[in-house]
Symmetry: C2
Subunit: 357 residues, 2 copies
């Protein structure tokens, strides 16, 4: 096959009009006669024309590329995968496409992918920054007039829009719930202490404890990697305390699962013998045994919301940074020992994900 690309000029020739007219048709302009439009469209279909956005983009100086960059720090974590899906939904239905990259918490990689995205002319960027990201890293972007929305982790000092969940309020309500169940010694387990999210959640824990009239004890705050393994480690330390806690709020669900593992390894049943509350409400939380009581943050919603925010700024031409914190909701299930004593809801499916291959 002679594979020369079909261009707008070929179409024009074949349809007996000028390239300008074809271009007008492409843009859905109302200036062109209905008959001509139909004809042109027919020819396009016939010749198998595919629009060259690169060329168009070149002419339309700047912000019209219809590409948004999405950068996440860990796609392997279903929280962020959900987030990406949320972004994709709105971005896609707005006729944009998403450039998605995973940094795996590497700021070098992050720098690379952002640079690359820029070269490709993204018209906006949504980023869940890698740990220890320098706020100045996004300076050039905003200087170039490219809207940036930071999600999940905020970047103090950066002049960009951001959308984070209400970590403080979430932790407070978790603590309050446990206090309501009669717990007096509640631990805070997991998470890296050098992150803004950790600070927020810890602050929520602290004020939850204090507004309940309990004392805040440093020994009850046990940091660890925000992972399942970290949870196992943290609960180990917690149980070794001379005055051991009877409940824990965890930095996130992964930690909470690890805590459950660690409890069981010591013949303690999560929920019955020790109350556990997570944070995030990842998909597995409701299907786990026992089902995890956790603070639901709806990552997909954040993704959608962030995308909307970004699109708004893109369309507005110029972006003013706005910050929104999204509400958060405690979902009471079994791992805190409250409510349902019914062991498992079998048969009726818990919003099962179709894992299909």
């Amino acid at each position: 096959m002679t594979k020369a690309r079909v261009t707008v000029i070929d179409i024009a020739k074949a349809a007996g009009v000028s390239k300008s007219t074809v271009s007008l048709v492409l843009q859905g302009s109302s200036l062109v006669n209905e008959a001509t439009r139909a004809k042109v469209n027919a020819v396009m279909r016939e010749l198998g024309y595919v629009y060259n956005r690169g060329a168009a983009n070149l002419r339309q100086a700047g912000a019209k590329s219809r590409i948004v960059g999405v950068v996440v720090n860990d796609l392997t974590n279903s929280f962020f995968a959900e987030l990406a899906v949320g972004v994709d939904m709105v971005v896609q239905s707005a006729g944009f496409v998403q450039f998605l990259s995973n940094t795996g918490e590497s700021i070098d990689r992050q720098r690379e992918v952002v640079a690359s995205m820029r070269e490709h002319g993204i018209s906006g960027l949504i980023v869940s920054p890698a740990r220890a990201t320098d706020a100045a890293d996004f300076k050039p972007l905003v200087a170039a007039g490219i809207p940036v929305v930071v999600v999940v982790r905020n970047l103090p000092g950066a002049k960009v829009s951001s959308i984070v969940s209400d970590n403080r309020a979430g932790m407070m309500s978790a603590v309050k719930h446990l206090v309501g169940l009669g717990h007096k010694r509640i631990a805070f387990l997991g998470g890296f202490p050098d992150t803004a999210v950790f600070d927020d959640r810890l602050a929520g824990y602290r004020s939850g404890v204090e507004t309940a009239g309990l004392d805040y004890h440093e020994e009850l705050v046990i940091a660890s990697a925000p992972s399942r393994a970290g949870g196992v480690e943290a609960i180990g330390k917690a149980i070794a305390l001379t005055r051991r806690p009877t409940a824990a709020v965890c930095f996130n669900d992964a930690v909470a699962f690890g805590v459950c593992d660690g409890l069981r390894a010591r013949r303690l049943e999560p929920g019955a013998d020790f109350a556990v509350v997570g944070f995030d409400d990842v998909i597995e939380a409701q299907a786990a045994v026992p089902a995890l009581t956790t603070v639901s943050v709806d990552p997909q919603g954040i993704g959608r919301r962030g995308a909307q925010m970004l699109l708004k700024q893109i369309n507005a031409g110029k972006a003013e940074a706005e910050t929104v914190t999204t509400a958060v909701r405690l979902v009471v299930r079994e791992s805190c020992g409250a409510g349902k004593t019914a062991p498992a809801r079998i048969g009726k499916s818990v919003k099962s994900k179709q894992d299909a291959e």
Copy 2:
């Protein structure tokens, strides 16, 4: 500040050379004098130049866009998220970027995103097709000389490269393992019967059963949605059989988890009272209680491998379709009732070529 975009011409002017020279520097050509190169680079940094790949791409007629499209059917499923991460790794380190989109099993959406990617000039596509994808859907792409690699689900009839895991061998070894533990009635649970993957796995089950000298009974094959809920449903039917099985191989891990739930609801302990084997080895498999014996397929590895294949084809200019099935490995944990045994490696990587077109 945010004036006009800095172009290669600005650089040229500022550095006192011609735009051609700057272009040469950009491409790392060895033709340019070391001193000049340094100077040009300095000026670029100083003026904050950003390369315009769109423009470059326009000139370099066709395949040099350095974008690969990645389309998955369900990013929410960690199996596919892992896959995407694998792709991203190799794609990124080869200096490409990935366009990632999620179809959520919708073939319309799939068509849209593929079209969009094409307009953006991807130089290759990796796709895990939505269910019921028509093999002809990718015809135009390959006709245009854009390499396509299909992963996870194969697309019989499409003249594209593909890489799938060795479903047959995996199931066979699962069955063999159960037989070795003394089981005589082994069920096959879960999965939609109208998919190629189901066929392969069922075939593996059947030949596993038969090579063990047992009879193949249709009643022991119980299809269901490939989800946790589906697993609950399937095990329910299995247990209702007059001659009830003592073990089951499951279509995938989600089904296996459901089966465990269902067993427990009937006061049967998975592992002890009934052996369960999954397929996929999702992340949760090893942390579950009991830890799931399953066939490990390493989605990230598939992603990496698929990306390598694609890049090879992109670089080769013209692509001949090749099909590889990746080896798969039974991971023995607790849910089958066996002790810890050294994992057996099964299946071998097979490679076969056929001419594209």
